[in-house]
């Protein structure tokens, strides 16, 4: 299998201006894609175009610019609806990102519908942003938090999940894909089982949307949150999908402009969906540019992106395992293009610092998953995560870099 068979890699790389630079005199290799992906020129141009020609506040202006800005803002909502497979644009709420989406659900659905003595289930694979909002809610309301454990391969222990489920469980919140290990969780099964005991399910999709096809209706997810910046889009924007009936039953998250129908000092009535959850002037420019990111992924083909990334992961895993003393953390059968590893006797931070000097950007540390690191009894890992613009030659640079690092630290 060669690269050109899957995607036109040179053409794709040319779409990402940031890749064309040197770090410490060496061509940049960017392998920190699970933290954030780089942006194609189409996204950069969409932002530039918006500010150069269309900038206006949306929804209430009657002038031409306001109409254009509103049209483009709402066009992204439709693009996100399609992207997630949602039934209606009323179910798509723009947020500042995944963390914001999870907090919204915890603060509104959680506060209203989950009571003392109830239980919430999360998993041992969660990012802090899918742990802390639930802990805060649990502390406030006297709810019990239960955790699905992780096996040695970095997969969720589904037998224990079955045991944790009961009528007491009102909500399950898990990630679709683990940010630290790349594990793809069986969320369709998790959702069906939660529904069987009457619990709703929140999916943290931050790490999934750039790699997998999402269909919230097929998954039967109640809530699904993602961030634009992890799928080649701008920072500071994301979306929360919620089933219409649930969103309608939920109180608003923040009060302000946009989310109201009528305000008097005696009583305010709230706007309809999705605006009820979008108080204040939103991040219009970045929402507009998110559409360009989704279109960019479609222009390559999401199946091709996934196939290319899989090929890189296979190759990288094979090469990494040949390094003496290296141990992969996270060897799930189903995983996205994330290679997390430790090298015996070497602190991940030292690896990261030296690789940076070799022009290779990786992530080191606990990846905001301290409980997961504790589970594997490690301080942290070195994580290389691959995107559509990465190449086999870049993986070779990582491997050569690791040999050099080992020698320097020996």
């Amino acid at each position: 299998m060669t690269l050109t068979e899957i995607v036109d890699i040179q053409k794709i790389r040319a779409d990402f201006p940031v890749l064309d630079q040197e770090i410490n005199g060496k061509k940049l290799v960017y392998f920190d894609n699970a933290a954030t992906t780089q942006k194609p020129i189409a996204v950069i141009n969409a932002l530039k175009h918006y500010y150069e020609f269309d900038n206006a506040n949306i929804h209430r202006g009657i002038h031409t610019l306001a109409e254009r800005a509103t049209r483009d803002f709402e066009a992204t909502r439709e693009a996100v609806r399609k992207f997630l497979g949602a039934a209606s644009t009323e179910e798509i709420i723009f947020t500042s990102g995944t963390t914001n989406g999870i907090n919204l659900v915890a603060s509104t659905y959680g506060r209203k519908f989950i009571k003392e003595g109830d239980e919430i289930i999360i998993s041992g694979l969660e990012h802090h942003s899918n742990i802390v909002p639930w802990q805060m809610l649990c502390e406030e309301k006297g709810i019990t938090l239960k955790v699905i454990p992780v096996n040695d391969r970095g997969e969720l222990d589904m037998e224990v999940y079955d045991q944790l489920l009961s009528e007491k469980v009102k909500l399950v919140s898990v990630n679709h894909v683990s940010n630290a290990l790349g594990t793809i969780n069986p969320i369709k099964e998790i959702i069906a089982k939660a529904h069987a005991v009457g619990a709703v399910v929140m999916i943290d999709g931050a790490q999934a949307t750039s790699h997998l096809d999402i269909d919230v209706q097929d998954l039967d997810a109640d809530f699904y949150a993602f961030s634009a910046h992890k799928l080649y889009g701008p920072t500071g924007v994301g979306a929360l999908y919620g089933k219409k009936a649930l969103l309608e039953a939920m109180p608003p998250y923040m009060g302000g402009g946009e989310m109201i129908k009528e305000v008097t000092f005696e009583k305010t009535t709230y706007n309809e969906l999705p605006y009820k959850f979008e108080a204040g002037t939103p991040n219009i420019a970045d929402v507009v540019a998110l559409k360009a990111a989704l279109e960019y992924m479609d222009s390559i083909g999401r199946d091709k992106i996934a196939a290319h990334e899989d090929m890189l992961l296979q190759y990288a895993t094979e090469q990494l395992l040949q390094i003496e003393g290296l141990r992969m953390i996270g060897e799930a059968k189903n995983k996205v293009s994330v290679a997390s590893f430790v090298i015996e006797g070497i602190h991940p931070q030292d690896i990261g610092v030296l690789l940076d000097n070799l022009g290779v950007a990786v992530r080191t540390g606990h990846h905001c998953t301290q409980p997961l690191m504790k589970r594997f009894n490690i301080l942290g890992t070195t994580r290389a995560s691959f995107a559509v613009y990465n190449t086999i030659e870049e993986v070779d640079r990582l491997i050569a870099g690791l040999h050099r690092v080992k020698k320097m630290l020996a």
Binding site: N24, H347, Q349, D350, V353, N357, T364, M408
Partner: protein, 138 residues
């Protein structure tokens, strides 16, 4: 030697390196040579938490001077810690409190002090000065 004389000495040593790797190998070597702290002194009281690696710092008075001992689990940080100790340890609290650390910038390692969340170095420098200020008051 004064604090500044030691800083200048380190800057001179680093001027010999024309390659980033030589520089880092020297720091790694210093990290390995630093005695560090026995396990029972790596306590919660002595810890300076960074996002990626932990640093432990101990201070005690030796006559009029303040002596620092420190350790880190990452060897590059430990090497940088070793240089901070070389520069600041064994001076009077007043000298330490009033010192201005310019050698880190001059040897091209300032990025390690800028990444506030990734290691405990910034907090360590602050903590060393806090010790000095506290001992001045004693």
């Amino acid at each position: 030697m004064t604090i500044n004389e030691i800083q200048d000495e380190i800057i001179e040593e680093f001027a010999l390196f024309d390659d980033w790797a030589d520089k880092y190998e020297y720091i790694i070597d210093m990290g390995k040579k630093l005695k560090g702290l026995p396990e029972d002194q790596k306590t919660e009281d002595n810890i300076i938490k960074g996002c990626q690696s932990r640093v432990w710092l101990n201070a005690h008075k030796d006559g009029e001077n303040l002596v620092f001992e420190a350790d880190s689990e990452a060897v590059i940080v430990k090497g940088l810690v070793s240089m901070l100790i070389r520069v600041l340890s064994g001076h009077s609290p007043k000298e330490i409190a009033e010192s201005e650390l310019y050698f880190i910038d001059q040897i091209g390692m300032s990025q390690h002090l800028a990444q506030t969340r990734s290691n405990g170095l910034v907090s360590m420098v602050k903590q060393m000065k806090n010790y000095a200020i506290a001992y001045q008051l004693v």
